[in-house]
């Protein structure tokens, strides 16, 4: 029974891991922290899984838990600060060196997103993934009006950071 559940969960997560990677890349600045956060999100998801009733899609639920973990449960380790430089300078440059402009744009986006606050990061991710204001307000627990106000501010900030 438990094995069945574990198998189903692992399969679902393997398919949807991209969502978690996006959140990790936005909220951490080093490879090791990325892996750390990914693991923590996975543990939180697995713990909450028995209560997941499928009212929402697995991907929507994963998104919510991942953001919650990044914003509220995860404690940034000190180690991250010391290695952040390396990630920023080497890893991102490596991405930026690709000829592919799409990859460049994604790398630039992450670079900009990392400069935002935790809440703004969440808003940004939800915006980029085309979530409706209703879904955003439900994920964050704020009114739709407030979500719109916050989103507009965040978009302006993001634009400024991207120099567009």
């Amino acid at each position: 029974m438990v094995k069945d559940l574990e198998h189903r969960f692992t399969e679902d997560l393997e398919k949807n891991q991209n969502i978690i990677h996006k959140v990790c890349r936005a909220y951490t600045t080093s490879d090791s922290a990325h892996k750390d956060l990914f693991q923590e999100i996975t543990i939180q998801l697995w713990r909450a899984y028995p209560k997941f009733r499928g009212d929402s899609k697995f991907s929507t639920w994963t998104y919510r838990v991942a953001l919650n973990t990044a914003i509220s449960l995860y404690r940034k380790s000190k180690r991250q600060i010391t290695t952040s430089e390396i990630y920023d300078n080497l890893k991102e440059l490596e991405y930026l060196d690709y000829d592919d402009t799409k990859d460049q744009q994604v790398a630039l986006l992450y670079k900009a997103i990392r400069q935002l606050s935790d809440i703004e990061k969440a808003l940004c991710l939800l915006y980029l993934d085309d979530k409706s204001y209703r879904e955003i307000s439900e994920t964050l627990g704020i009114t739709e009006v407030n979500a719109r106000v916050k989103m507009n501010r965040t978009k302006i900030k993001l634009k400024k950071l991207l120099n567009t």
Binding site: E14, Q17, I43, R64, R75, L109, T139
Partner: protein, 209 residues
């Protein structure tokens, strides 16, 4: 927001090139231990509950060994009984709050629930510090007004007047208790300050309109 549209398109087609976990990787992660702050708050709170229970036991034995009047003994007995009831209520409340914490809630509710759990422990600590001070004042009052103590004090410091010796004894006791309380509160601030600083900031930012 035209400028952002091209980025949005790139975002949607992004592929995490070198970061892809296999089925086995993920399965392995399921059995790892969580390091979430909720877990830390839970453990630290348990230590706090235990700490204060031990302290009240320690005081119990102390009171027994002091040769106090029966009136004080009765008062301390009642206080101890009330104390245990209140501690049980606090633990029940803490457990109830802790159980409400769900990572599937919306972000604001999750943060609120975490802060609420922490707040229960904070009140528990304040209550205990209050009780500690109150108990201390009561015991000191009885000791400092007991004839036995005053005679002992006079024999110990025959050269000074009783009044000045008594004042000195009171000042020393107050300083000792103030230092203990100060250290305790500083310790709590430090632990939870480190643990909850970011969460509090995020909660504030999200709640602002």
């Amino acid at each position: 927001m035209k400028g952002l549209d091209k980025y949005k398109e790139a975002w949607k087609n992004q592929d995490s090139k070198d970061l892809k976990y296999s089925y086995n990787d993920i399965q392995e992660m399921l059995h790892k231990k969580s390091s979430s702050i909720v877990k830390w708050i839970f453990y630290i709170s348990l230590i706090e509950f235990c700490f204060w229970i031990v302290i009240s036991f320690a005081f119990d034995t102390d009171w027994n060994t002091i040769n106090v009047k029966s009136r004080l003994y009765m008062l301390l007995g009642i206080l101890t009984a009330i104390n245990y009831i209140i501690i049980i209520l606090f633990i029940a409340l803490f457990y109830k709050n802790y159980k409400t914490i769900s990572v599937s809630s919306n972000a604001q509710k999750l943060m609120k629930d975490i802060l609420k759990t922490r707040k229960t422990v904070y009140y528990y600590v304040l209550y205990n510090v209050g009780m500690l001070i109150f108990g201390f004042v009561v015991v000191m009052y009885y000791i400092f007004t007991s004839v036995d103590f005053l005679t002992q004090l006079q024999t110990a410091r025959p050269e000074s007047s009783l009044n000045s010796s008594l004042t000195l004894a009171i000042v020393i006791s107050v300083v000792i208790i103030a230092v203990i309380v100060g250290l305790l509160l500083m310790f709590y601030r430090l632990i939870y300050g480190v643990l909850l600083k970011r969460l509090k900031q995020n909660y504030k930012e999200l709640s602002e309109s």
